[in-house]
Each structure stands twice: as structure tokens, then as C-alpha cells.
């Protein structure tokens, strides 16, 4: 056993690929069989990731030598690199298609989530700008939170909270969209674009819209694609700057 552990530690990054692959495989099965695709596999997998982290120490599961490779695969550099790569496929002609109302809903969506998140964070006793901004960014998506937190130097427990907020949002969007679609008039392409811009979580938006009307999925995805980019641009810059003025 000890020998096997030693051997795996030697190949830690590759072992991390295998581990994450297994987690995702398992999540896809759970998503399909237990939730009938109602909860996106990505949300399940990230939740499992957080559960694994709980089993470890202050570096999460990477505190256990066997899983040290997770720190390489899930490190800041890899994360930022893959996040940037998701912008591939979004083009200027698409931005034009989203148009004025898509842009408005994107900006409002990011600001609204950030404001609500940071105000509640303040009310719950987080009074330093770094924590407030990171938690506010987490209310955007589970990626805007950690990107912002790392950029401004927030602590790992705050970053973990911001990921959890984003995951809860993604699951809620998925589950609630089909239930309240009628009440918010979500039955046409334009509202779907507004919806994507307001909610932002791509996994939640696409899964939620798929349950309402698959024809609406591309419209929601169109604006949602830009949400994380906009959040990563605004939260650690303008919004952080304004927050520090307010709190320092």
C-alpha cells in the first residue's frame, strides 16, 4: 500500500487526471439516472470536489500526499488558462446578435448578483473588502468567485464559499427555470437572451432552458457565454476598487 502510494505520488498529475475523470464519469451517471438530467453533471462534480476537499486539510484533498496532483491540475494557472480558452467560439458577430438588450442584461446581471452577494456578505459579518468582493463575485458564477478571489488575494476558505454560492446558483437556475418559465414570460428568443445574461451560469442556463424548450437553448447560451468573462473583468477591477473606497 505504502509502495503504491509512493508510486502514485511520483505520477501525481497523471493520477489527478484519472481521479477527476472518475469523478466526472460518476457525476454524469448520477445526473442521468438519479436526477433525469435535471441537475447538471458539472454541478454534481463540483459539489463532489468540495466534499473531497472537506476530507482533506487546509489545502483540501491536496493536503493528502496521494492527491497532491489535484493542486497542479486545479491550480490558479491551469484554471485561468482553461477559462480563457472558453472564449473560443464566441465571436464579434455573436456579440452583435445579442445586441443592445443582451448587453444590458449582461451588465445588470453581473452587477445585480455582485451587489446582492456583497451586501448579504457584509450583513453576515464579512467586513474586509477582499472577502466581500470574492463572495459577491461568487454570486455571479462559480468561476468568477475564485478567479476574483485569487486575483485580489482572498483566503482559501472565502474562495470555497464563493464556489459553493456559484454551484447553488447553477443548481437553482436549472431546477427553477422550467417551474417559473411561464411567470417570467420565458417563451421567446429575446427573453431567453435576457435570461442568459441575467443568470450567467452557462451550465444552469443551458440545462434549465433545455427543460423549457430546446429551441431556446442557443439564445440563452449566447449571452451566458459572455457573463463569466464580463464578471472576471469587472469584479477584480472596478467593483473591487469601488468596494475598497467604501471600506477603507
Amino acid at each position: 500500500m505504502e509502495l503504491l502510494t509512493k508510486w502514485l505520488v511520483k505520477h501525481d498529475l497523471i493520477f489527478a487526471f484519472l481521479t477527476v475523470g472518475i469523478i466526472l464519469f460518476f457525476s454524469f451517471i448520477v445526473s442521468k439516472k438519479l436526477t433525469n438530467n435535471k441537475i447538471p453533471a458539472a454541478a454534481i462534480a463540483i459539489t463532489l470536489g468540495l466534499l473531497l476537499a472537506y476530507m482533506g486539510g487546509n489545502k483540501g484533498i491536496a493536503s493528502i500526499p496521494l492527491f497532491s496532483g489535484m493542486a497542479l491540475l486545479g491550480g490558479n494557472m491551469m484554471r485561468d488558462f482553461t477559462v480563457v480558452s472558453t472564449a473560443m467560439g464566441a465571436s464579434i458577430s455573436q456579440i452583435k446578435k445579442a445586441g443592445f438588450i443582451g448587453t444590458i442584461s449582461l451588465v445588470l446581471g453581473v452587477l445585480m448578483a455582485f451587489l446582492l452577494g456583497s451586501i448579504i456578505a457584509y450583513a453576515l459579518g464579512y467586513h474586509d473588502a477582499k472577502s466581500i468582493v470574492t463572495i459577491g463575485a461568487g454570486a455571479c458564477t462559480f468561476i468568477v468567485g475564485p478567479v476574483t478571489g485569487t486575483a485580489i488575494g482572498a483566503s482559501s476558505d472565502i474562495i470555497a464559499i464563493s464556489i459553493a454560492i456559484g454551484v447553488i446558483k447553477s443548481v437553482l437556475v436549472t431546477l427553477l427555470t422550467p417551474v417559473i418559465a411561464k411567470n417570467i414570460g420565458l417563451n421567446n428568443p429575446e427573453t431567453a437572451m435576457i435570461f442568459g445574461g441575467m443568470m450567467g451560469t452557462t451550465s444552469g442556463v443551458t440545462a434549465g432552458l433545455a427543460a423549457v424548450d430546446t429551441k431556446l437553448v442557443p439564445y440563452g447560451a449566447l449571452t451566458a457565454t459572455f457573463y463569466t468573462g464580463l464578471g472576471c473583468l469587472l469584479c477584480p477591477s472596478v467593483l473591487y476598487y469601488l468596494t475598497t473606497i467604501l471600506f477603507n
Partner: protein, 121 residues
Amino acid sequence: MKIYGVAFLAACYLIGQILGDALGLLFSFNGNIGGVGFGMLLLILLGDEINKRGWLDNESESGILFWSGLYIPVVVAMSSIQNVKAALTGGWTAVIIGIVATLCCFALIPVIAKLSKRLKN
């Protein structure tokens, strides 16, 4: 060559990070301001230009797509290395914020939809 796509992506990432770090220094923050966002913007703007001129073929593009396919797995690995035990001392923070933020954003959708109709008329 796939590596051309990966190299192009790396260039966008690095320039974005430089911009973010430079802004951080400029405003004397200890950190990187919007580096990832700038990187994405660059990839969209330069990518569009490069596509028009046909400089990146499908093979090169698949080098970028490979990394965007690793996005969720990397995020899963990232969640697994956070200090979740300490985060749990925050108690209900995540749950409350997640629910309130989502519901309020839902509520705003019909408002914006109405606004959009009014703008058109």
C-alpha cells in the same frame, strides 16, 4: 498543428495577465486586475481577425478546444483543493446568498423584457 492553437491561446493568456498585473501596479493593489477577462477579450478579438484571414486551420483550433474541454475538470480539481473545513465555519452564507441572488435575478427578467419592448416601440 495543434500547438499553434495552444501557443496562440497562451499568448492571449499571457498578454491578459500582463495587462492585469500592470493595472494592479498602476492602482497599487496587491494583485491582478481583470487579467482573465482581458485574456478572453483578446481571444475573441484576435480570434475573429485570425479567422477572417484564415490563419488558424481546424487542426490548430482543436488545440484551443481541447483546453476549453478541460475547463469543467479543472474547476472540479480546483474545488477539491479549497479549505472547505474553514469555509463551513461561515455556516449558511453560501446557501443564503446563492438563493437570494438567484431569485432576485429571476425577478428582474420580466422587467428587462418589458423595457426592451418599450424601447422598440
